[in-house]
Structures are given as structure tokens and as C-alpha cells.
Amino acid sequence: MTPRKSTLLIIPALNEEMSIGPVILGVKQHFDCDILVIDGYSRDRTVEVARENGAMVVQLSKSLGIAGAIELGILYASREGYEYLARIDADGQHRPEDLNRLLAVIKEDKADFVIGSRFLGDSEYKPNLLRHSSIGVISLLLRLLYRVKITDCTSGCQLYNRQVIEFFAKDVSFEYSEVRAIWMAHKATFRVREEFINMAPRSAGVSSFSPMIAWLYMFNNIADLLLSIPVPMRRYGKQ
């Protein structure tokens, strides 16, 4: 049995047989980690391709969504005692080379939670208007409500250290979303930081993110942020 690495990389995937192989190979070439592909019962050969390329694979019902997949990854990382947890998308938009730079920030103890942002520099990928504006609104809300400056709050490239993994894993009713993870970690006084990553246009396949889901995602996150407004409450009996 091969010994565990200190970093776990999770890749949520759904019908990505074209891109999952190159993604895993790229990661293996540039980044030292165990890879866990969380598949939402794809109809194509995603699972086989991922296994052939030497990743751990687990299938989780599609109805739990990407959120469920990430929560599963967090639980796994917590139970198996991984020091760091990284996540990237399966569509090949994130460059595995960048992960080393992001991990270095955590390893140097400059942050507990690092986000790979495509807006901090000149990235190849340009999101469409709807996505760009929704990211803008959410970023603004994050800044207004939590005083946390994040340019790319919906980035699918995030890295956590052990404390953040444990913080999320121990919360039984934790429901992951890229945005919620940010403000929850920030509220719990973890240091959240952004680093630039270059993002390529989608390499192959179709995104499961339809316009309808994009709207829903945006609505969900904004409602969530507004409902989470930190209310200063007096704690009786506690000084």
C-alpha cells in the first residue's frame, strides 16, 4: 500500500471523460498529492478514465451536487488526516502548476485558506456577462457585510489547511458553497487570501452549469449572504 501524501486534491466531475484524464495526468506531473475524483454517476466513462489514470474514485449521487462532493472530500480529508486539501474543476481550466504556488502560501503560514483568483491578473478565460455581474454583486456583498476583499468568490480552486478542514468537517449541518466557505472561514477568524491563477477556456465537454442553474446559484448565494448578516446579539449570562 502506497503511503499517503500530505495533500489531498479533490476533483468533482460529471460527464467529463474527455478532460478528466489530462487533468489527472497534469496534476500528477506538477503537484505532489493524492487525487480523489468524486463522480456524480456520470453516463460516460469518467470513472474508468479516472481510475486508469491512477486517481481514487468515489461515486456520489448527482442530487447532492458539487456541494455534496466537496463536503465528502472535506470529511475524507479530515478522517484520513490530510494536512492540506485542494480542489480544482474537472474541465481542465485550472493549471496544476499554479497549485504549488498556492500551497506555498499556506505552507509559509501566510494564510489558512487560499483562493485561486482569475481576476487578479490577466487570465485567458473571460466569464460571460451574467457570471461576471453575479460575481461582482457577491463580492460587493462580501466586502460590505464581512469586510473581506475577494475578487473571485466563486472560484473552483480553493486550498485549505488542516484547521480549516477540521472546522468544516466538525460542523454537522455545514453546507458547502464557494461563497459560504469564504465567509464562514473569515468569520471564524481564519486568514482568507487570494492568489492569481491563470484560467484556460474549457478544454472539452459541456458544463453542467446551465443558465438556469447559474441564476439559481447566484440567487442562492445572495440570499444566503443577506440572511447571514452578522447580528450583534447580547449574550446573557456571559461576560
Binding site: M1, M56, V57, Q59, G68, L72
Partner: protein, 123 residues
């Protein structure tokens, strides 16, 4: 003032509902906690039946001119509480199912080395 018949029907309905709900609770078909909102309903029927002036008093307090409407308003309020309670239960159950599904998936993950050996087996 309600007629004697109306009060009788109201009390009978309240008692009937009470027996049905307590029967279901005793048979473990409804959890005690979930029966709470139903018992509130029983109480409402019984109160309107036993205290004949209740409806008029309620109507006066609420400023409703036509007393029977007060009953509807009150019933609607009780229903809202019940539905809210059900939403909470559904959410909790959804969370539990997701948790269970994740726990099961965790059991199915094989460490890198074992992946090769187990290939082809049903896991």
C-alpha cells in the same frame, strides 16, 4: 353565539382529532414531537366548542365584522404553524439523508494502493 349543534360538532371534531392523533402516536406512526402541531388544532376545535363566546371575542379582538371569518383566520394561522413545522422536519430529514449518503460514500473510497486489487469487484 354559536348554536348548540355547531358547538357539539366542534367539540366532537376536536375529540375525534385528538383520538386519531393520540392513536397514531401510540402506534408510533407519528413522533410525539411532530404531533404537537396537531394537538394545537384539537385544542382550537375544543376551545371554540366549549367556550361559545370564543369566536365573537376573537372577532372583536381582531376587528373582524363577520365572526365566522375569525375562525378561518385562526385556522389558517394554525395551518401555517403546522406547515412550517413540516418544512423544518423535511429539511432535517434531507440533511440526515445527505449525511448518510456521504458516510456511505466514505466507506467506498479505497486508498490508492488497494484500487488495483479490488478492480472488477463489486464495491
Amino acid at each position: 353565539m354559536m348554536t348548540l349543534l355547531a358547538r357539539g360538532i366542534s367539540i366532537a371534531a376536536g375529540l375525534g382529532l385528538f383520538f386519531v392523533v393520540s392513536f397514531l402516536v401510540r402506534r408510533r406512526r407519528i413522533y410525539n414531537l411532530y404531533a404537537v402541531s396537531w394537538f394545537i388544532f384539537c385544542l382550537m376545535f375544543l376551545v371554540t366548542g366549549i367556550f361559545g363566546r370564543f369566536t365573537e371575542t376573537l372577532a372583536t379582538i381582531l376587528g373582524v365584522y363577520y365572526p365566522p371569518t375569525a375562525i378561518l383566520v385562526f385556522a389558517l394561522g394554525c395551518l401555517l404553524v403546522t406547515v412550517m413545522h413540516l418544512s423544518m422536519i423535511v429539511t432535517q430529514q434531507h440533511k440526515d439523508i445527505k449525511r448518510l449518503e456521504k458516510e456511505m460514500a466514505l466507506l467506498r473510497i479505497l486508498p490508492p494502493g488497494q484500487e488495483e486489487e479490488k478492480r472488477g469487484q463489486f464495491i
